[in-house]
């Protein structure tokens, strides 16, 4: 099965900086954005190397605050 190309969207102001999503990404691209503070005062989660995302949705599955949306991107 050709590797799916995924894309992750963070609704940053819902994030509480709990970091659970950073522990389940198989390609280790989900990080906390230390350069930014959201409206709640937390560093929101983010993905820099989006091209590596395989749209497995592990991050979204473990997020307790429905911050993460996952899509597949057509090549």
């Amino acid at each position: 099965m050709a590797k799916r190309q995924g894309r992750v969207i963070f609704e940053e102001n819902r994030c509480k900086g709990c970091e659970l999503c950073t522990t389940v990404c198989p390609v280790n691209i989900v990080k906390m954005n230390k350069t930014k503070i959201n409206v709640k005062g937390y560093h929101p989660a983010t993905v820099d190397e989006m091209e590596k995302c395989i749209a497995c949705a592990n991050c979204a599955t473990i997020c307790p605050d429905v911050v993460i949306k996952v899509e597949t991107v057509e090549e």
Binding site: K16, E19, L20, T61, I62, P64, V73
Partner: protein, 248 residues
């Protein structure tokens, strides 16, 4: 562009008030997703407890009741007896269900009330600031067990699923967890099965979900998942304790 994962219609847009990393949020989402996937959201009536999830009536996108502490199974009984065609569920914590509401949950199961209970066990009282619950583990510290729970004075923690599985009216009893992605996916399957048992009119179903409480455990959200796995699961083994035989 195909959507793989999106916020479920089963939840409202209101943001959860839960502490960072508290897995109540995951469990709420699983229930919301299941109600949508079974196509019953429009005829669901939920009952919220007293405890951290007292505000659940703002989070589930269906008619809701806010019950007195421990009384959700009685409230649900009243609703289901009058609206047998509706889907009814209670969402309760361990203080609500395993302490003040023990009689209510046992007798709802005993009568075989056809509603579904989601029982969130985080081994502590969260809303009130970390007191010992009936499910607090031996040696686990709490604000009312400052030296850790001791069997001599507080007895052994209560295993509700095993207890309820001895009651014939409880036709579906399963304990699951949300401490990692695989467990979350299994938890959703169990929750779906519990609601299906209700929809098929077979009887009372309950899913006990082991959950974290970073704030009152005094452990980071990430480490809380590990703490749950290493401490709670050995005492509260996961698995199905009762399910209606196929075809019955």
């Amino acid at each position: 562009m195909a959507e793989i994962f999106n916020k479920t219609e089963g939840l409202t847009d209101k943001q959860f008030h839960y502490c960072p990393g508290c897995t109540h949020g995951i469990i709420h989402r699983l229930v919301g997703e299941v109600l949508v996937e079974l196509g019953v959201l429009g005829k669901t009536v939920g009952v919220a407890p007293v405890g951290c999830s007292v505000l659940a009536y703002d989070y589930f996108n269906c008619d809701m009741h806010e019950a007195a502490h421990g009384r959700a199974p009685a409230v649900a009984t009243g609703i289901k007896r009058i609206l047998p065609e509706n889907v009814v569920f209670t969402y309760q914590g361990d203080g609500d269900l395993a302490s003040i509401g023990t009689a209510e949950i046992i007798h709802a199961a005993h009568r075989g009330e056809k509603f579904t209970t989601i029982f969130v066990n985080n081994a502590i009282y969260g809303m009130t600031g970390g007191q010992m619950a009936p499910t607090t583990l031996i040696g686990q510290k709490a604000t009312t067990a400052p030296y850790g729970r001791q069997q001599a004075t507080a007895g052994m923690p209560l295993r509700m699923s095993e207890m309820l599985a001895t009651i014939d009216g409880a036709v579906f009893v399963e304990r699951v967890s949300v401490h990692n992605v695989a467990a979350i996916r299994k938890a959703k399957k169990a929750i779906k099965k519990a609601f299906e048992v209700q929809i098929e009119g077979k009887g009372f179903g309950i899913v006990e979900v082991l959950s974290t409480c970073p704030t009152n455990w005094g452990i980071s959200p990430v480490d809380s998942l590990k703490w749950l796995e290493e401490n709670m699961i050995p005492y509260y083994p996961l698995g199905n304790f009762r399910t209606p035989e196929e075809g019955k």
